[in-house]
């Protein structure tokens, strides 16, 4: 295990600094939990209140796109997990390839999402004038769909930025000294995955078949 960590300013012991990043990131993830908690509360209300009409709207969601994207994102979580462990273990090459893989999978997620959005737009699934269902709980489902998925996609994009930065650090040659950064980035990426895993049944599995 790489013990030669770069000691940052306020810390006098490596042991405490090593706790600091995961603790800081986990605290931030707790805020993400409450952030998405807010929109899930809206979903819970709309589904409870909207009943059958809500389900009717949800049936239009493109389950194939959603399922494939779930698989893609879960796999990216796998590559990220391996990258993080390889960094900690001192295996640069593995770490580099796995980070690259995560980046590619994350990008594919966004591309697939883009195709799905195109299909949604074609089928008039944006609430407002020309919306397939008119006013009602179905419109609420789609309001949730757009707000939640766009917010999630923004998180994916930020995650990709973090991964790109890690790759850049790797190119510079000192990724192994930044094991805590890799750990923080990985934690964030896994959270983005979890959010999607929770959204998946809420968006795509309502009222099937």
């Amino acid at each position: 295990m790489a013990e030669d960590l770069v000691l940052h300013e306020p810390f006098e012991e490596a042991a405490r600094q090593r706790i600091a990043v995961p603790f800081g990131v986990w605290s931030f993830l707790a805020t993400e939990c409450l952030f998405f908690g807010g929109i899930l509360l809206f979903y819970a209300y709309a589904r409870w209140h909207g009943g059958e009409a809500f389900t009717q709207g949800a049936k239009e969601a493109a389950v194939w796109y959603g399922t494939i994207n779930t698989a893609v994102l879960m796999t990216s979580s796998l590559t990220m997990a391996i990258a993080e462990r390889a960094t900690k273990g001192g295996f640069r090459v593995v770490a580099r390839w796995m980070l690259g893989g995560t980046l590619m999978l994350g990008l594919s997620f966004l591309v697939i999402k883009g195709f799905e959005y195109r299909k949604d737009v074609h089928e008039h699934l944006i609430p407002g004038p020309g919306f397939k269902f008119g006013q009602g709980p179905a419109a609420q489902f789609w309001a949730f769909y757009w707000t939640a998925t766009v917010t999630h996609a923004i998180h994916v994009t930020i995650g990709l930025g973090i991964i790109a930065r890690l790759l850049w650090i790797e190119r510079r040659g000192d990724l192994l000294l930044h094991a805590t950064s890799a750990q923080g980035g990985a934690l964030y990426w896994h959270l983005v995955d979890i959010v999607w895993v929770v959204l998946y049944p809420l968006l795509y599995l309502v009222g099937r078949p």
């Binding site: 300013e9 306020p10 600091a20 800081g24 908690g37 807010g38 509360l41 209300y45």
Partner: protein, 557 residues
């Protein structure tokens, strides 16, 4: 420890020892600093600007209300003035006031650390704050917002013709600076305490910062989401709270108050911390019931999340929910009362110095008590039905937030001014400021309780003439209060350039921050610290009779 060898022995200029202020004096060195002390000062400058902006809006409101007819501002302008006042004062002044300035400066020093756990994140939080501030400013310059600081739907999303989006985005952005500060403080307290600084040896200010940070971290994201949903509905027409699609505007209120009630504690918990530091030092007493003070803050921080529905008693919320929220709101008064009781207990048989910080702190206790007790009126459902949206509510929360938090902020500013700047200010002039602020405040807001019970609604600039005497009283009081705020600029400004050099520990206080030079060196301390005693040892334990030796006294029936 109280006799300081450096007192009076420091030469004027020239041989000044190195301090954090001397580590680069260019603007660039300030804008790229990761020193928590400098970031505290950057925040102080920023919030002073926003405080002035919010104060101008308040002045406009009070000027308009002198006469019963709306002759100075139009309806729209009045709406914009109180919205601007609310948004700016809550998010750009009160929430960051004590934590981001005094907290940033003092928290690491009080626990014997070199800096906060994530110094670069700390600097970033300031830039995020400024970005949010610019967005809000831009909203004001573009023509203002008229929703009130609460952004209630459906008005904010479907009907308002003002710049709601910009303002909401500004508040959304500034929330992230709160979160960053909160995460940073929590990690700092957990990981960077000096050797021997156990949890029960932490100064109460540190506990206050810690509990405040918990609230910031756990409440702010929900505000972010509620504003995001407002943006989604307003900008993209997505029906979220829109009743025509089955949405419930009360859902917005639930989300909003899930943050905004705890936000009151973000504003007042830091004040608790400041007041505890000042009172112990200026009464030369150990704090009465240290552990109860700590638990009270922790309980307030947690229960504070379960009372938000008291803002919704007349909104159509279910009677059951109102009952639960009302009950919990009464419960949370208990720890607040414990704190007031313990501060009073600390004063008992103390050697009280009525210095300026102490006057502010004593003012805090009185005003906070009035604010807290009137809060109980509002927590009771039947009374609240009568008082909702009247000036009684306005007076109540100003007693907590201005009478309480702002008094404490000014008290803390004076108390630590010598440490921060290395200069002393004129005690006499400062006492005058503290007293005028106290009286000005009461003249402004006490009449509002009375008009509130008589039925004067808030947010109207056109009112029946029988309320005029009260409004005139209030506006005249605001002049005095304004003087109380402006006056310190002169003597503190003068002290900055001409003030006598401050010794390391001018008040003879016990905190670690006083055990280093004034102003402190860049790394805060010249030596490694080891803590081996509890805080506030202002008098030896056995020096007073048992009944005064409160914390350890045997209970007598």
């Amino acid at each position: 420890m109280n006799s300081d060898p450096t007192r009076g022995g420091i030469p004027e200029r020239g041989a000044e020892p190195p301090s954090y202020l001397r580590e680069g004096t260019t603007v660039r060195s300030w804008l790229t600093t990761t020193d928590h002390k400098r970031i505290g000062i950057l925040y102080a400058l920023a919030i002073t600007f926003f405080f002035a902006l919010g104060a101008v809006a308040a002045a406009l409101i009070r000027a308009e209300l002198v006469t019963p007819s709306g002759d100075f501002l139009t309806n729209d302008e009045y709406n914009q003035a109180f919205t601007l006042h609310g948004i700016v004062m809550v998010w750009f002044f009160l929430v960051p006031s004590i934590p981001a300035t005094l907290g940033n400066f003092l928290l690491p020093m009080m626990i014997g650390a070199k800096d906060v756990a994530f110094p670069r994140l700390n600097l970033m939080s300031w830039y995020v704050f400024m970005a949010g501030g610019l967005l809000a400013l831009f909203a004001i310059l573009a023509g203002g917002v008229d929703t009130g600081w609460t952004f209630y739907t459906p008005f904010s999303t479907l009907y308002s013709n003002s710049h709601v989006l910009l303002a909401a985005l500004g508040v959304f952005v500034v929330g992230f600076s709160s979160i960053a500060t909160g995460v940073n403080f929590i990690a700092t307290v957990h990981l960077l305490r000096a050797r021997g600084m156990t949890w029960m040896r932490l100064p109460l200010f540190v506990w206050a910062m810690y509990t405040t940070s918990l609230v910031m971290v756990l409440a702010t994201p929900v505000l972010a989401m509620s504003l995001l949903l407002v943006v989604a509905e307003r900008a993209f027409g997505l029906p979220i709270f829109d009743p025509r699609s089955g949405g419930d505007p009360l859902l917005f209120q639930h989300l909003f108050w899930f943050y905004s009630h705890p936000a009151v504690y973000i504003m007042v918990l830091p004040a608790f911390g400041v007041v505890s530091e000042i009172i112990t030092c200026e009464a030369r007493r150990r704090i009465f019931g240290y552990q109860f003070m700590v638990y009270a803050m922790v309980v307030i921080a947690v229960i504070g999340f379960m009372v938000w529905g008291h803002h919704m008693f007349v909104s159509g919320q279910s009677a059951f929910a109102s009952m639960v929220f009302s009950f919990l709101s009464f419960v949370i008064a208990v720890p607040s009362a414990i704190k007031v009781f313990n501060w009073t207990g600390t004063l008992y048989r103390g050697q009280i110095r009525f210095s300026a910080p102490m006057l502010y702190a004593l003012g805090f206790i009185g005003l906070f008590t009035i604010g807290g007790l009137t809060g109980l009126f509002l927590a009771s459902v039947p009374l609240d039905v009568h008082l909702t949206d009247t000036y009684f509510v306005v007076a109540h929360f100003h007693y907590i937030m201005v009478g309480g938090s702002v008094s404490a902020f000014f008290g803390g500013l004076h108390f630590w001014w010598p440490k921060i700047t290395g200069r002393l200010y004129s005690e006499r002039l400062a006492q005058f400021a503290a007293i005028s602020m106290f009286f000005g405040f009461n003249f402004t807001f006490f009449p509002q309780f009375i008009m509130g019970t008589m039925g004067m609604p808030r947010r109207y600039h056109d009112y029946p003439p029988e309320f005029q005497p009260w409004h005139v009283m209030s506006s005249v009081g605001a002049l005095v209060l304004g003087f109380g705020y402006l006056w310190p600029i002169f003597y503190l400004g003068w002290s900055l350039f001409r003030g006598e050099r401050a010794p390391a520990n001018p008040h003879g206080a016990t905190g670690l921050e006083w055990q280093t030079r004034s102003p402190p060196p860049k790394d805060n301390f010249d030596r490694l610290l080891v803590v081996d005693q509890e805080p506030y040892l202002y008098h030896p334990k056995e020096s007073t009779p048992d009944e005064v030796e409160q914390a350890h006294a045997k209970q007598k029936p």
